[in-house]
């Protein structure tokens, strides 16, 4: 379960999608998310799904991995779909079966619609995570939010915190595995019992994990000081971003997708 969380799971690569300006990528993704809420028919979703398939192919990320991003939220999708079944209206699916009269075509349509929306939302937004190194991502966020620095918002500090958090996810996942195994070797039982018992069984994992996280934080702070870290002032950048032709192409593609979705909305 822990390993399935895709945050910070960057897939290094050399594809055009990877090479895009992260700021553009981020803005396009934001636009895409908004667009998914504008869509009001299945044809619109078809357009969005086509875009995602195209991006998957271009970015050379295995489709299986892309679909995996749905897994952690599968429960929410099913939950949403289930409740949407009741809010449909329209004619019942089984006219003759009395106790199934609540199941309507409209409900099924709604359920499918909402699930599709969430799935596309998840898949679409994890693309940024897959194809942008977290450092670039936070860099992009920092730059996009740059103007807020004038209002004394500590943009750089937040970006740095995000970078470090993402950097330590795999490390802490490994550590959790190790601690779990160590506790199992001592006879800890995580698999049986009711939910409260199981939650309690997690304490012997969480305590060492948090203690170790503090220790790591302290060492990391020393290591950062040794490398002359002094906040955001006077820093130069290793990565320089400039919009290239591929970014303009991406923006054009996104504009066309947006236009077609809106057209479909109006037409249907």
């Amino acid at each position: 379960m822990i390993k399935d969380i895709t945050l910070g799971q960057y897939f290094p690569g050399d594809s055009p999608i990877h090479k895009m300006d992260p700021r553009v990528k981020l803005l396009i993704t934001l636009e895409f998310v908004v667009l998914l809420f504008v869509v009001n028919n299945f044809y619109g979703f078809a357009v969005c799904a086509t875009l995602i398939v195209a991006v998957t192919a271009l970015s050379k990320i295995p489709p299986k991995t892309v679909l995996k991003s749905i897994k952690p939220l599968l429960f929410i999708i099913i939950f949403t779909a289930f409740f949407n079944l009741f809010y449909g209206g329209g004619s019942p699916v089984f006219e003759s079966v009395g106790w199934l009269r609540w199941l309507t075509w409209g409900g099924i349509r709604n359920a499918a619609f909402m699930s599709l929306r969430i799935i596309l939302l998840l898949v679409g937004s994890t693309f940024v995570m897959y194809t942008t190194s977290p450092v670039m991502l936070t860099d992009a966020i920092e730059r996009l939010l740059g103007p807020l620095k004038k209002l004394k918002v500590p943009v750089h500090e937040f970006a740095m915190m995000m970078t470090i958090a993402m950097r330590f996810i795999p490390t802490l996942v490994d550590e959790t595995d190790k601690i779990t195994n160590a506790q199992k070797a001592r006879g800890a039982d995580f698999e049986t019992g009711n939910i409260i018992r199981r939650a309690k069984a997690l304490i012997p994992i969480l305590v060492p994990l948090i203690v170790s996280a503090f220790r790591r934080a302290e060492e990391l702070a020393d290591a950062m000081e040794c490398r002359c870290y002094n906040g955001g002032d006077g820093r130069t950048r290793y990565k320089i971003y400039s919009c290239k032709s591929r970014d303009y192409v991406a923006i054009c593609v996104m504009l066309i997708v947006t236009a077609s979705v809106i057209t479909l909305n109006v037409l249907i």
Binding site: R227, C228, Y229
Partner: protein, 290 residues
């Protein structure tokens, strides 16, 4: 050769003046481009000394000068830290970025190095530790030895004059240890870096030009490896081992067998032993039932 580090009567305690002293009146001078190993059991103050050398910690008493700069001079803090690069034990806790080259650039970004220069230095640093082909890899997928070399590259990119390493091989497997030691020695030879290596491994200490042994916040032995490892009894008394060949010679000498006192590596040891056996030196019965 001139001195790069000069420690004068340094004392240090974590809790201010009243607390017990971790370092107690320590004097140490280190020459440029030397390779100094610092030995001592846990809690003897080795790491505290290291952190005093690049102003992560400041002396409670006494003075520390690096490249002629007083470490308490706050206005030159970054001058000090840039010159005294420090590598820690756990590579996982010193790598900040999620891609190798971005991590190496971290210090350069902090120092405000211009972009073109930065790209050049990142490539140079990666080449210096032999990790060029891993430039775009994610650090958490590298082996321990490779991670530690990335951490070293991150420091080397600052072009430090001195590399302070606090047990850099303690968490590595034998192969990783070899990689790291070979890298460090090459940096010393090729780039003229001064190396201060804090270690628990005697076979690493033997490779240094000079060995400093600490106990209880003081330096108790200081000299060439040959000299230091003669004092087997003293080293044992402060809970330290000596290299196995030195230990063997020490025990043989206990039985009045005349072997040279400073034999530090296997090759020399084999030579001495074979000479000893060929010459059929008269030894008492049971001399080898140690």
């Amino acid at each position: 050769m001139s001195e790069i580090i000069s420690v004068e009567n340094l004392s240090f305690s974590y809790g201010g003046q009243k607390d017990t002293l971790v370092l107690d009146g320590l004097d140490l001078k280190i020459e440029q481009n030397s390779f100094v190993a610092v030995l001592g059991h846990n809690g003897c103050g080795k790491s505290t000394l290291a952190k005093n050398l690049n102003a992560i910690l400041l002396p409670t008493g006494g003075k520390v000068y690096v490249c002629g700069i007083d470490t308490t001079d706050e206005s030159r803090l970054f001058d000090i830290r840039r010159r005294m690069g420090m590598v820690f034990q756990n590579p996982d806790n010193q790598i900040i970025a999620t891609v190798v080259d971005e991590d190496i650039a971290f210090a350069l970004e902090n120092l405000g190095v211009p972009h073109d220069e930065m790209v050049k230095r990142v490539d140079e640093a990666l080449a210096a530790v032999g990790m060029s082909e891993y430039k775009h890899h994610a650090p958490h997928r590298l082996s321990g030895g490779q991670k530690q070399r990335v951490a070293i590259a991150g420091i080397i990119a600052m072009k430090p004059q001195c590399l302070i390493m606090d047990e850099p091989t303690a968490m590595l497997d034998p192969r990783g240890r070899k990689e790291v030691m070979a890298t460090v020695k090459r940096l010393k030879e090729e780039q003229g870096v001064t190396v201060i290596l804090i270690t628990h491994y005697m076979d690493e200490a033997v490779q240094a030009d000079r060995v400093v042994v600490m106990d209880d916040g003081k330096i108790i032995l200081d000299g060439t490896p040959e000299y230091v490892f003669q004092n087997v009894g003293l080293l044992h008394s402060v809970a330290l081992d000596v290299p196995q060949s030195a230990e063997l010679m020490y025990r043989l000498r206990k039985y009045d067998i005349k072997v040279p006192i400073s034999v530090l590596n296997e090759g020399d040891c084999v030579k001495v032993l074979s000479e000893l056996l060929e010459n059929k030196i008269d030894y008492k019965d049971g001399a080898f039932d140690i």
